[in-house]
């Protein structure tokens, strides 16, 4: 039987299984209209794979609108799961296999060049017989074009099969698809049953049973009708793993950091972190305050931090811009504060659901005047968790603002990581609560480090008025030239003091050679994967990922000097040197490249793109090979 004619085949139990192809990795997508459950199907598949011990990276496919019209090219909603034998560090390249609930959402993915040539497509077949001629003709046309383009399109009667179970296909098709995929990828059905029980844990037993029935039907149908199967051998982790997305990891980090307050204002793609925190924070005595605007959220956090409880505010680009003045106040008054900027496409409203690394410069240099603050970047889902704990510690030790940059990709992607081992030291506030000695000054800046003890309201003898105005050691408003010079010096030196505690970045790949790639944030996985591929092809390439952007870790210049060339790979704007009117005098470099060039006086080149998607490892390989060939 040809696998292309599944539509007309009947279920034949006990049919012999076709060949099982062993793969190193595969990328699977499940896409549908919004609300048809493809997200849940994909997340469950990812979790099942992780339970099997596979490496995974899941990426949400999110339409820009809440309810895009049904069957629209721009309306694809779903999930993309990269499953591998080994640990997976990024979303990878193009997709190998797709389950699509209609042909229009599929066309959207084709146009975005997200599918690999020859990709296997399971396409819901019911549209072929739709009484609306417009729909059936659109389906046939798309089907024929896809086949002509070389895709392996398998028309699949998912809806019809669900109806056989008297299930509401609008709600149940996703679990049927999950069953199919479990069969195809040789996942144990028991694992899937457990996952469904976990996912629907809060709901009635009947709901779980109905979903399990659909899962099993999908599995049985695939066993009877599909004559190929894949196996991606797993290397189970030695430690317990947790699977979350970056925003959940952030929220878990807030709980673990010992912070008690989070002030926020809704903004995509940061908000889901606060949704989760709102759900659970109160159980440990924490509060999420939804302020009237971004400025108020930041000012509220500063007020709470000032009063002795280091507070976090979580936002995205436009919200970050609004907070800038208040952040400057926290810098000036030396009030600890943790700010998270889940970066999205900019400028202005930009691409709210898409990834970009465009906020580095405004984070480091934003706020008027010299406003030194610490800037960190999370590179992995796990980093999103630990960065919050580190940030709170730095904020309260140095009385500084610490900004954590993550992005839209990290926010919604899932990846397993070692289950964190709770430590009591995470909670302890590094605040001196001993009595304030007679005559002590609220800004008694240390001559070497710029550090000063902070007095918290309630502490007798520490009364003073903090101010955003220039002030002396007593926090008295002062316009004296020497005092201004002294206070800016102190606030700046704190960054150097922190820098002295940092360690050099670790090199991935060749420790010296032809090219060093420097990245920051979520591009880490893709860059390292590309480096690995390039090394296998004989290129002497290494990479570093900078966790701290301000201050920068020590040893970077020394590392750069070991390579013939250095470049950054970033997900933000830079002018291509190939443009007709671009030359050395006017080329605008990527953010990190500018920072590295100015700090180290090294001719750091850059390559970047702003396609709203994570940079793919294959793209990086192409870019590097072209560069090395020059």
């Amino acid at each position: 039987m040809s696998i292309d004619t599944l539509e007309h085949s009947a279920t034949k139990p006990g049919r012999s299984v076709g060949t099982v192809t062993t793969l190193k990795e595969h990328i699977v997508e499940i896409i549908s209209d919004s609300g048809e459950g493809a997200q849940r199907c994909g997340q469950s598949l990812g979790a099942i794979a992780a339970r099997m011990g596979n490496g995974i990276w899941t990426t949400e496919i999110i339409p820009a609108e809440i309810r895009p019209p049904a069957r629209s090219v721009a309306g694809a909603s779903g999930n993309r799961i990269r499953i591998g034998s080994n640990y997976i560090t990024n979303g990878g390249d193009e997709t190998d296999l797709v389950v699509a609930f209609n042909e229009q959402v599929l066309l959207g993915r084709v146009r975005a060049r997200e599918l690999k040539p020859g990709c296997i497509i399971f396409l819901e077949s019911m549209w072929r017989k739709n009484p609306d001629l417009n729909i059936s003709m659109a389906y046939v046309e798309a089907y024929e074009r896809l086949v002509a383009a070389g895709y392996r399109v398998l028309e699949t009667p998912m809806e019809a099969q669900c109806q056989l179970l008297n299930a509401d296909p609008k709600r149940g098709k996703n679990m049927f698809a999950l069953g199919m995929l479990c069969y195809i990828y040789s996942f144990e059905l028991d694992m899937a049953r457990e996952q469904i029980a976990l996912t629907f844990g809060k709901k009635a037993q009947a709901v779980i049973a109905a979903n399990v029935e659909l899962l099993e039907a999908g599995y049985a149908w695939a066993a009877a009708n599909i004559d190929f199967r894949f196996s991606i051998p797993a290397t189970p982790a030695t430690q317990p793993q947790i699977v979350t997305n970056g925003n959940t990891a952030l929220a878990l980090g807030v709980i673990a950091s010992g912070m008690e307050l989070c002030a926020m204002y809704p903004i995509t793609p940061a908000t889901s972190s606060s949704h989760y925190l709102s759900e659970v924070f109160e159980k440990v005595g924490g509060i999420v305050h939804q302020a009237e605007d971004e400025i108020a959220a930041c000012a509220f956090a500063i007020g709470a931090s000032y009063a002795g409880k280091c507070t976090i505010t979580i936002t995205s680009g436009p919200g970050y811009s609004l907070k800038q003045e208040a952040i400057g106040l926290a810098v000036m008054a030396e009030i600890p504060l943790v700010v998270v900027n889940v970066q999205r496409g900019g400028p202005s409203t930009g691409q709210p659901t898409k990834v970009e690394q465009g906020d580095l410069m405004c984070t480091i240099f934003g706020s008027h005047g010299d406003a030194p603050k610490v800037v960190m970047a999370a590179a992995t889902i796990e980093d999103c968790f630990y960065a919050v704990i580190t940030a709170r510690r730095i904020a309260e030790t140095f009385n500084m603002v610490v900004v954590i940059l993550t992005d839209a990709s990290l926010s919604s992607s899932q990846q397993p990581f070692n289950r964190p081992q709770f430590s009591e030291t995470w909670l302890a506030p590094p605040v001196d609560q001993s009595p304030i000695p007679e005559g002590a000054k609220p800004y008694d800046w240390d001559a070497t480090t710029g550090l000063a003890r902070r007095f918290i309201p309630g502490q007798p003898g520490g009364m003073h008025t903090v101010t955003g105005l220039a002030h002396d050691r007593n926090s008295h408003v002062a316009y004296d030239p020497d005092i201004n010079q002294e206070s800016l010096r102190a606030r700046s030196l704190k960054l150097a003091a922190l820098q002295k505690t940092l360690t050099p970045p670790e090199i991935f790949g060749e420790p010296s050679g032809e090219l060093l790639i420097i990245g920051w944030g979520s591009t880490k996985g893709a860059i390292e994967e590309a480096v690995q591929t390039l090394r296998e092809g004989g290129c002497k390439v290494g990479a570093i990922n900078l966790r701290f952007l301000q201050p920068m870790q020590p040893g970077i210049k020394e590392i750069m000097q070991r390579y013939t060339r250095v470049m950054t790979i970033e997900n933000n704007w830079s002018d291509s040197p190939d443009e007709e009117i671009i030359d050395a005098d006017n080329r605008r470099y990527s953010s990190l490249a500018i920072l590295l060039r100015s700090r180290y006086l090294v001719d750091v080149d850059c390559w970047s793109e702003v396609r709203g998607q994570p940079v793919k490892p294959s793209t990086i390989c192409r870019v590097v090979l072209a560069k090395l060939a020059k």
Binding site: L252, A256, A291, F300, G303, G458
Partner: protein, 317 residues
Amino acid sequence: MKSSATDCLLELYDEQHELEDYQSGVPRWCTGCGDNAILTAVQRLCRDEGLRPEKTVFVSGIGCSSRFPHYMKTYGFHGIHGRALPVAEGVKMARPDLTVFVNTGDGDCCSIGAAHWIHAIRYNMNLTVFLHDNQIYGLTKKQASPTSPIGTKSNTTPRGSYLDALNPLAVTLGVANASFVAQAVDWIPESLYQIVRAAYHHKGLSFVRILQRCPEWLPKSLDPWMHDTNKVQLLHHETSLQLSAGLSKVYKNQLEHDPLDMNRAREIASSADVCPVGILYQNKDIPRYEETRQTGVLRTTETVRRGFEAELDKYTV
């Protein structure tokens, strides 16, 4: 028990504070500026109520009024323009044990910080908010503010301001959860003190608009109200403020007003011919946001650890 009754008395005596215990520095306001009258009333309040300086925080924004915390020997937070209220909310949420006052001006509160003003009323946190309203921008040297009467000549409105003034009392009374709205004037110290004191004792956000003179930029604007005692209408009620013999003698225009009567409060707030002075509205039953949000969870390392592990369990594969 080691301490005797005398020891306790001595300790009590030690906790007695004098006015000087709340005074810090020499105010840099102009001679005749209404801010001085407010400072005097508030320092007196602190002394009379025996507020512990280390447990008291004055939060302000930017403007002449917002220099206020620098002149109090308590904790203070002189922040950025328009954002005094959200800062104060953060302080109160983190530390309900602190007594928090807010000093804000007509530009700070009614213009650049107007969004926060509306929402602060709605949160109804236990804050005492003084709106120092001199109807002009002073620190930036005479620009019309939202409360400048129409026709006010200023550096940005040299031919007179174009818009009717915003009425802070009417606005506040229009917001859900308003729980204490009063008006005071800087030139009647006795009533100013009485109102400031009532505001301090109110549990919830007490909003006091204080009409104050700006001798530098609008020296005559409040003259009609000051010079004709009949134009000041003193509000009193058996459940609220009572008038002293001295006040009653000077200010004959008096109105008995029940502060629970919102409709009447709104009418009084909108009076054009008289300047109402007293408590327009007070409702002690409106919930305080910081209390509503209390989780009731005793936060210990163990609670956090248990909660955290329970969450990790959900995500463990």
